[in-house]
Amino acid sequence: MKKLTLLINIVAYGTMAFLYLPLMAVAFFSVNNTKYGLAWKGFTLDWYLALFQNEVILTAAWNTLILAVISTLVSTVLGTALAIGLDRFPWPRKMNTTFDLVLHLPVIIPDIILAAALVVVFSFLRTFSGLFEPGLFTMIIGHITFQIAFVALVVRSRLVSIGKEVEEAARDLYATTPYLLRRVTLPLLMPGIIAGAMLAFTLSLDDFVISFFTAGPDSITLPLYIFAAVRRVVTPQIHALSTLVLFATIALVIVMERLSQKINKKNVLMEIDN
């Protein structure tokens, strides 16, 4: 028994080390006062300062943010509308499996396939309009394409959990469709919408494959920059950048966790209420 506990402990700590040691090493080298080598040469924030003076990196960061914010806003609106349309419209029952498939497909399909498909579609569309030249615009469309499904899935599960009866009650109390949406459906959906948007945002932030295939020369994002830079040489600047991205991600995860806790609390209260 004791042996087993020991084994479990070793496996658990080993896994933790495997997952987090590389990340800690990156953070370690980002404040190490040397360009090469593994030895500790003293603490410095020079690499971070250099980072903030690097035009290319700042542009990449700005692009990443613009891309993530716009694609998240659009996909959240579209995904929410899609979820409401799928769940609340009285579709025939056999359509449900079709919808499930259509919704899950973008989630399970390999990014590379979707990216390749986007390249084909954009090159076709380019014959009609210069708008589809590789660049931020095509990247935004590409990101929205896969984000919609994630948002719709999260929002739809929320729709299922709030049920239809409350909306029926609102209709029974003379609510027109816009009033019903504004006063009842959307406020009750809000936790799901926020969770879906956060998910879409983080997916966009660290997306590489779709961005790589749809980006133009002026629309480098951070993942693309890091990839290109690492292929030449890993500089401490990259470590500094990676560390910042890491902390930004951790902050996002914490916010999401807080939000979902709040949602769960609300759900529990709603269940008591029922």
Partner: protein, 345 residues
């Protein structure tokens, strides 16, 4: 308009799901100001019928006429009908005031009228100073009153109640039934209640329709339905009944436990007769007619009464006025002809 045309008239309402008829060609006239109950086991189509009246479901055929006006094709938001839902369906993100005010706000009534009417309605339903609380902070009984207030504040021509007491415990339910009946009599509004609880139906209703498999089996005042059940289903669904099979020959009803005089001859030669346990008289001496000698086989104590099971025939008797019996005691049971109800099937 004459009062003849007032009320809610359902004409040939029919609704099928797949191949089964959930509501099978139902026609009823519900009078204005009456407390009407649709009573039946789950799956009998009573809730579907209610949802069609509310406008939340569309019937395949048939017409709905409210106070002389055809509302068959009107959506829920255009019908002057409001509903109290089974789980109340209160808006969890709105406080009690906003929950109750919802129907008034939907119709964009002026703010001061909303304030005044919500205050009145909270007063009427004894919701006191709950207006800033949220549904999850209230008890089941309080939430039920909020649901009632939220529907009644719109002054509907018909109030629909979909099993509104199923979430309450037995004691509270009994109390709320009486309160609901009083409220309805005070307001003199048409209430339509859906329930599977026969006690509830008997307590609150002016008239009851007993439903089964999409059809109305029997229809009348609670007394009519309880005292003269039409068939085996109604006799057993409402209260307890002794069902005695037998043949009708030469003016007498012949059964395994004896021959009885009936108050009116049945339409069949072979069939069932029912008698309620509390209508059987137990005595020491032989009655003039319709008496059988029986032996106590089981006693069930029920607080206000005792149920005695007699052999032969497993006859159940309920009374509080006889002397104490013990198992094995013999007595005369009298089945008065007026209490023997001839069933249709």
């Amino acid at each position: 308009m004459t009062t003849q045309g007032m009320g809610l008239h359902l004409q040939g309402i029919h609704k099928t799901y797949g191949k089964t008829a959930a509501v099978n060609n139902i026609s009823i006239e519900i009078r204005s100001g009456e407390f009407f109950t649709l009573l039946g086991p789950s799956g009998c189509g009573k809730t579907t019928l209610l949802r069609m009246i509310a406008g939340m479901e569309l019937q395949d055929s048939g017409r709905i006429i409210l106070d002389g006006r055809d509302i068959t094709r009107l959506p829920a938001i255009k019908r002057q009908i409001n509903t109290v839902f089974q789980s109340y369906a209160l808006f969890p993100h709105l406080n009690i005031f906003e929950n109750i005010a919802f129907g008034l706000r939907s119709r964009k009534l002026p703010e001061n009228e909303i304030n005044q009417r919500v205050a009145q309605s909270m007063d009427m339903l004894e919701l006191g100073n709950m207006k800033n609380r949220f549904p999850h902070q209230l008890s089941g009984g309080q939430n039920q009153r909020v649901a009632l207030a939220r529907a009644l504040i719109n002054e509907p021509k018909v109030l629909l109640l979909d099993e509104p007491m199923s979430a309450l415990d037995a004691k509270l339910r009994a109390q709320v039934q009486v309160e609901l009946r009083r409220l309805q009599q005070k307001l003199h509004q048409t209430f339509i209640l859906v329930t599977h609880d026969q006690d509830e139906a008997l307590v609150v209703s002016d008239r009851v329709a007993v439903m089964r498999e999409g059809q109305i089996i029997q229809f009348g005042t609670p007394e009519q339905v309880y005292d003269a059940p039409k068939n085996k289903f109604v006799a057993e669904f409402l209260g307890a009944a002794n069902l005695i099979p037998g043949r009708f020959e030469n003016g007498l009803f012949h059964t395994d436990i004896g021959s009885f005089v009936l108050s009116k001859p049945p339409a069949w030669n072979q069939g069932l007769v029912a008698i309620r346990p509390e209508w059987i008289t137990v005595s020491e001496t032989q009655p003039a007619q319709n008496g059988i000698r029986a032996k106590v086989s089981e006693i069930i104590y029920r607080g206000t009464s005792r149920d005695l099971w007699f052999e032969p025939g497993r006859i159940r008797v309920r009374s509080s006025t006889y002397k104490h019996f013990s198992i094995g005691d013999e007595a005369w049971l009298e089945f008065a002809p007026s209490e023997l109800v001839v069933l249709d099937e």
